[in-house]
């Protein structure tokens, strides 16, 4: 067995990581010091770091309330997506008449930008009676097309033999999804959870349009408080940004072990 040296790979990844981290380092640094990012020359080491900006964030906006709203809406969005996308993705692996058209339809739906849908979406949500509610905020995000296709691709990699065997055993379609497809598609599930959690958590414009009362607002809407009158970029703004980032990151860290698991699971597939 030939052993290929791993240090070139590490070297490349290190360069990539440094490049990826530079902007992020500045966000973190400014959140710890509140110094003016436009000061010249730029200072690499944080001057006089402190955590007060994070305390400020807690008090400048109704942080716990906004956090709770974000959590509820995100949970709804992730749950909805897991349910609807798996079923839809599975349906697309079957060869039913008109499948090509459904695939094209879904691909086309992806191409409609949110900004062009704001007014009709608001009117529809109003007609449904869910304005200014958690459900209203989560509704447009309860299913996402990219994730449907991710599931489709993942399900299609499951060997037919397993599915056929299950059918012979008399399992219903739903059971097949649950017992066979999903366990073998853990990376897809992980990706689904990560992406939908992020999209829902960071959603800004839609909650802005559909909520009126301060009690219903989600965390990103608190941004306005830190982008003060004159677009000042203060430490509190960056502390806020870091705080909003943490849950998305945490979910990624928790879910990404599925990628490692999938590595060994593949060895036993088929």
């Amino acid at each position: 067995m030939r052993k290929t040296p791993t240090w070139p790979r590490h070297a490349i990844m290190l360069v990539v990581c440094v490049l990826m981290l530079i902007p992020f380092y500045w966000v973190l640094k400014t959140s710890l010091t509140g110094e003016n990012i436009y000061a010249y020359p730029p200072r690499i080491i944080p001057v006089d770091p402190h955590l007060f900006n994070y305390v400020d964030v807690w008090y400048m906006i109704p942080f716990p309330r906004y956090l709770l709203n974000s959590v509820i809406v995100t949970l709804m969005a992730v749950a909805g997506n897991l349910l609807f996308n798996t079923t839809a993705g599975y349906a697309l692996t079957k060869n039913f008449p008109g499948r090509r058209w459904v695939v094209l339809l879904l691909l086309s739906c992806m191409l409609i930008p949110f900004q062009a849908t704001i007014i009709p979406a608001y009117l529809i949500t109003s007609w449904l009676g869910v304005l200014n509610t958690h459900l209203g905020m989560a509704l447009p995000m309860l299913s996402t097309i990219i994730c449907i296709f991710i599931f489709k691709a993942s399900f299609e990699a499951v060997p037919r033999s397993l599915i056929d065997a299950a059918r012979i055993d008399g399992l219903s379609e739903w059971r097949i999804v649950l017992r066979i497809m999903l366990p073998l598609s853990k990376p897809a599930v992980a990706t689904n959870v990560i992406l939908n959690a992020i999209w829902s958590w960071n959603a800004f414009m839609w909650p802005l349009i559909t909520t009126r009362s301060a009690e219903m607002q989600t965390l990103p809407l608190g941004l306005a408080r830190f982008l003060s009158v004159m677009e000042n970029t203060t430490g509190a703004l960056y502390a806020f940004v870091v705080l909003v980032l943490v849950p998305g990151l945490a979910i990624f860290l928790m879910a990404q072990k599925e990628f490692i698991r999938g590595l060994t699971a593949g060895a036993t597939k088929g």
């Binding site: 109003s126 414009m205 408080r225 677009e231």
Partner: protein
Amino acid sequence: MRRRNLLQATAVTAALAALPRPGIAQAPKKITWLTWNLVHLESHIKGWIASFVAANPGVEVEWIDKKGPELPAFYQTQLVAGTPPDVIDIQGALGLEYAGQGALLDLSPILAREAAVKGSFNADYLSNWVFEGKNYMVPYYISKTLLFWNKTRFRDAGLDKPPTSFAEIMAAATKIKGGEKTGLLTLNFDWLYWPFMQMSGVELLSADLKTPTFNTAKAADALGQLAEATKSGAINGISWTGRWVEPNEAFATGNVGMLHAHAPAYFWIKGKGPWINADTLGAAHAPGGWATPNSHGLGISKGSKNPELAWAFVKHITGDVVADSLARTASVLTGNKVVDQAQLVRLEKDDPAAFQVLKTQFEHTDKMCGNWRLGNDSRVKDAFWPEFQSAVLGRKDPKTALADAERRVARELRRA
């Protein structure tokens, strides 16, 4: 001041008394107030609303605040849905656009009826929102552009007075530039740069607002000089590419001779530039006294279900008590003559530098430009500005840029 409150309370009571009463139990009368980027004044706003509710029992006021980029999206969506906020706070010419759209209530009859209220406002600023002869908004907080000059940079260049003509501005800028230093910075959003053209004898549109009149030799000359100065570094290029933060930031470093911006810039640069005080910073008028206003106004949505209550609220907010509170808290001028006068008197004692700056806001108010009463201001602006920017950045020569701009502006005016 007490008399005004009594007057207001009487007016509100009379108005409420005149309204038809619903038969059964009365639901609280509710109005919604939409403000533009005032979330940092939350506690004060809640206080002002509380005092209104106390004076008008049985009334509810819902307060919504949005930042500039999102406010139009929010407002338009509400408009389409039929639930527009009753009282809105709008910046600059957008108010005229909403008026042109038919979204705002014509306040002229109300103002005609209540001469005392009308008289409480600075007439020139009040007229900023007259569209097709009708007045749609009243001033909430006001400002216009002026020329800040860095006395140290001027002295080093052998100058001791602010410039009094376009030529002098260019000359001063050229003298001051060198190394890290530049001569002139200007803000460019919302027509704030227009005084440079106006002082050069350029009119954007004909008096009836139907024809572009800016494609002239004078304009080409002025534009050419601005482009030359930008190229040489006399004018800092950020003037044409930066928005709010970058130009103010650059001036706050102390390396720029002049900043052409509206009064609120003072408080921002003061925070960023420790060198700034009455001895080092001068506040002058742009040559000719020309200035572009950039004020906030309060208007009432036509679709409001409680217009009388909305008007009472507007009067409360622009009345002496609340306006004075706003002026002190946010260091702004309100357009309420009594309040502003008191503010200036106070500042003359407490903050001479701020006084110099804010004093300019009430001088030459007959020379306000860059404020055409158009119902499609943003379209005209979007048609003109990119060509202007291309010219000053040396991308297009002035004559071509003006010709292209003329074509595009004419198209927008034709469509109106």
